[in-house]
């Protein structure tokens, strides 16, 4: 690789990492501030009905100043120690990893469903324009994307209950073993269809592909007898698809919280929900930080893909 592109890569990656660090610092501060200011701080909660707060804190060696608490929390996190769940007493990180796998299945599966639906519609309509085939498909994509995911979820449960005479939900938090296929796929399909991003994937991909089809270098490709798809796939497909996936990860995660609730799917979203209800602060904070890391990793991945596709233009 040439020197200039190595330098560009280093610069881009350095910038991404710096942004990530800043963002995580910001997120952790905000999360911490909210929890700190919320009525009934964790210690009061734990020690409710017991002896005077400050004396206990002193005795336990817990710092009282907010920044001291924050710093000790952050330095623990940096060492991989997210604390223990107030509710279960188990280490937060291992709890998150245990259920995180299930959320990974759910969100990646859902993303796949979204793309499998959206990509053909986008490519067909970029190529053919609005025809009697692509227009209804596009409209359907917009309508579906407007449906709220919880509503879709309940409809899906309602229909499958009537069809199978059973409530196909994932029971318990024992992971995915022993699941029946419907119970496994239904939430994935519901999140894939209902995360609200199909229409945007269609719109963005179609727009970008259409724009690239009109580029002069595509005319050159035609003039030399080459394939239009081959020449447009990088700028017209790979770049926009990674871009839109990266920007939609938060939406899919948000949808996952709802779907996990509705289907009782033992994932991170449901855990966050429960943690919020039981005011399990270490767990809430841990999940928030992990979610922010995942979102940033999407963006980092997008950068890497862009760089691989075109080292010369990725530095923009």
């Amino acid at each position: 690789m040439r020197f200039s592109s190595v330098r560009t890569a280093a610069f881009v990656l350095g910038r991404e990492l710096a942004i990530t660090a800043l963002l995580l610092a910001g997120v952790s501060l905000v999360v911490f501030a909210i929890l700190f200011l919320a009525p009934g701080d964790p210690f009061s909660l734990l020690l409710e009905g017991q002896m005077g707060d400050d004396a206990v804190r002193e005795a336990l060696g817990v710092p009282t100043a907010w920044y001291a608490q924050y710093l000790s929390w952050v330095s623990n996190i940096l060492r991989g120690n997210f604390g223990t769940s107030v509710h279960t007493g188990l280490p937060v990180l291992s709890e998150i990893i245990r259920v995180g796998i299930n959320t990974l299945y759910l969100t990646l599966g859902a993303l796949l469903i979204t793309l499998v639906i959206a990509i053909p519609i986008a490519l067909l309509s970029a190529r053919m324009g609005n025809t009697s085939l692509t227009l209804p498909l596009t409209i359907a994509a917009y309508v579906i994307s407007a449906l709220p995911v919880f509503w879709l979820g309940y409809i899906a449960i309602y229909i499958s209950t009537h069809r199978f005479g059973a409530f196909p939900i994932v029971v318990g938090s024992s992971g995915t073993q022993g699941l029946n296929m419907t119970a496994f796929l239904l939430p994935i399909v519901v999140l894939g269809v209902g995360n609200g991003t199909i229409s945007e994937v269609v719109r963005y991909l179609r727009e970008e592909m259409g724009r690239v089809f009109a580029e002069e270098y595509i005319r050159t490709a035609k003039a030399k007898g080459g394939s239009v798809w081959r020449h447009s796939v990088r700028e017209g497909f790979i770049v926009p698809i990674t871009q839109i996936i990266a920007t939609k990860i938060p939406f899919v995660l948000g949808g996952a919280v709802v779907v996990e609730q509705v289907f009782n799917w033992p994932g991170m979203g449901r855990m966050a929900w429960q943690a919020a209800q039981t005011r399990d602060y270490p767990l809430i904070m841990g999940i928030t930080i992990i979610a922010a890391v995942i979102v940033r990793m999407g963006s980092l991945l997008q950068r890497v893909v862009h760089f691989m596709v075109n080292p010369a233009a990725a530095g923009d």
Binding site: T220, K222, A223, G225, R234
Partner: protein
């Protein structure tokens, strides 16, 4: 002239339908040209005169939905003859109202498919094209070497990637790319405009085409680079001898490289003949437009006589409402009393005024 023509264009008309104006924009309106083997045909004319549309019509790259193309484009190599224009009738229907076309219905996909079928094995392989703006005409996501090698793989007998890369490297040397080995692995974004145009030329020549169409190959490059590209084209013409259509509004470039020249105006050819006659200010007779055109470019004559180049007065022709008579009527300074009515009401034919020299002007066709 015993050498057979490689390209024969007859009465080519390319119209775009403007929905807002409810009329056709007649970008190319009855053009007939011939290019013989080994010859360079120059096409000059002001911006908007239809030069690019003519070239794009020939290789089937006009892509405007309500456009119609008629005429005949014959292409002949080693005894094989292609007719490159499908008849438009099956794909277009016009709705007329009071003599005005109010709607153009075109089966664009069907038309495209037919064009692509006719062009298969011709476009890229037998006819190559070089475009203006080399930096945006090359794929920014593919290395220079791969782009040239792709053309080799697509259009020559070479099927092996390594051989194709070898060939690509050879052509990058032929176009005198600086450090071709290094450039091979670079992306267009890493190269200057001049180097990109060399890459475009290498790519176009790498298929060893029977016809090269160069549409403004020097426009948009700064002037020292321009003259280097012209030099390169001149040398390649001598070395490779590829039959060429050279489109440019730079008359000096065309004069240097062309054997014959067509001067276009408002979608038609006004003068067509040997380059040394058409583009020499001293050769008479001259078409009034060509005369004005030659006066508008700085030349040695201007310097010698202390004169300034004079821009052609008046507006570029509106190809929607073209005049009934001569298209140059509104801007012409040579109209005499005797022919004024004819000039206004009747379009002159492109008529032969001497062997191989045609002109479209009432002054010269009595």
């Amino acid at each position: 002239m015993a050498v057979e023509p490689v390209l024969t264009i007859e009465d080519l008309r390319t119209y775009f339908y403007s929905r807002s104006k409810r009329a056709f924009i007649r970008s190319v309106d009855g053009v007939g040209l011939q290019v013989r083997r080994g010859e360079t045909l120059g096409i000059v004319g002001e911006s908007g005169s239809g030069k690019s549309v003519t070239a794009l019509s020939v290789i089937g790259l006009i892509d405007a939905e309500p456009g119609v193309i008629t005429g005949r484009v014959g292409f002949r190599v080693n005894g094989t003859e292609w007719s490159l224009l499908p008849s438009i009738g099956d794909h277009v229907s016009l709705a007329e109202e009071d003599g005005r076309i109010v709607e153009v219905v075109k089966d664009n996909r069907g038309w495209r498919r037919k064009v692509d079928r006719l062009m298969h094995g011709v476009r890229g392989r037998e006819i190559s094209m070089i475009f203006q703006n080399p930096r945006v005409s090359l794929n920014p996501f593919v290395t220079i070497g791969s782009q040239v090698a792709e053309s080799v793989l697509l259009n020559t007998g070479i099927r092996n990637r390594r051989e194709a890369a070898e060939k690509a490297r050879y052509w990058l040397e032929q176009v005198r790319m600086d450090s071709p080995g290094l450039r091979f692995a670079q992306y267009p974004g890493d190269l200057s405009g001049g180097m990109c145009q060399r890459a475009m030329i290498a790519m176009a020549l790498s298929s060893e085409p029977s016809l090269l169409i160069a549409d403004e190959p020097t426009t948009g490059l700064d002037s020292t680079i321009q003259s280097k590209i012209v030099e390169l084209l001149d040398d390649l013409k001598k070395a490779v001898g590829v039959t060429t259509v050279l489109i440019s509004h730079d008359i000096n470039v065309v004069a240097r490289l062309s054997d014959s020249v067509a001067v276009m105006y408002g979608g038609t050819v006004l003068e067509y003949g040997p380059a040394d006659r058409v583009l020499s200010p001293d050769f008479l007779p001259k078409h009034p437009y060509v005369e004005a055109l030659l006066e508008s470019i700085p030349s040695e004559r201007h310097i010698k006589d202390g004169l300034l180049p004079r821009a052609i007065e008046g507006e570029v022709l509106d190809t929607v409402n073209a005049p009934r008579g001569c298209r140059f009527f509104d801007r012409c300074h040579r109209i005499t009393n005797g022919i004024e009515e004819k000039c206004r009401d009747l379009e002159p034919d492109l008529a032969e005024i001497s062997a191989g020299h045609q002109m479209r002007c009432w002054l010269h066709i009595g």
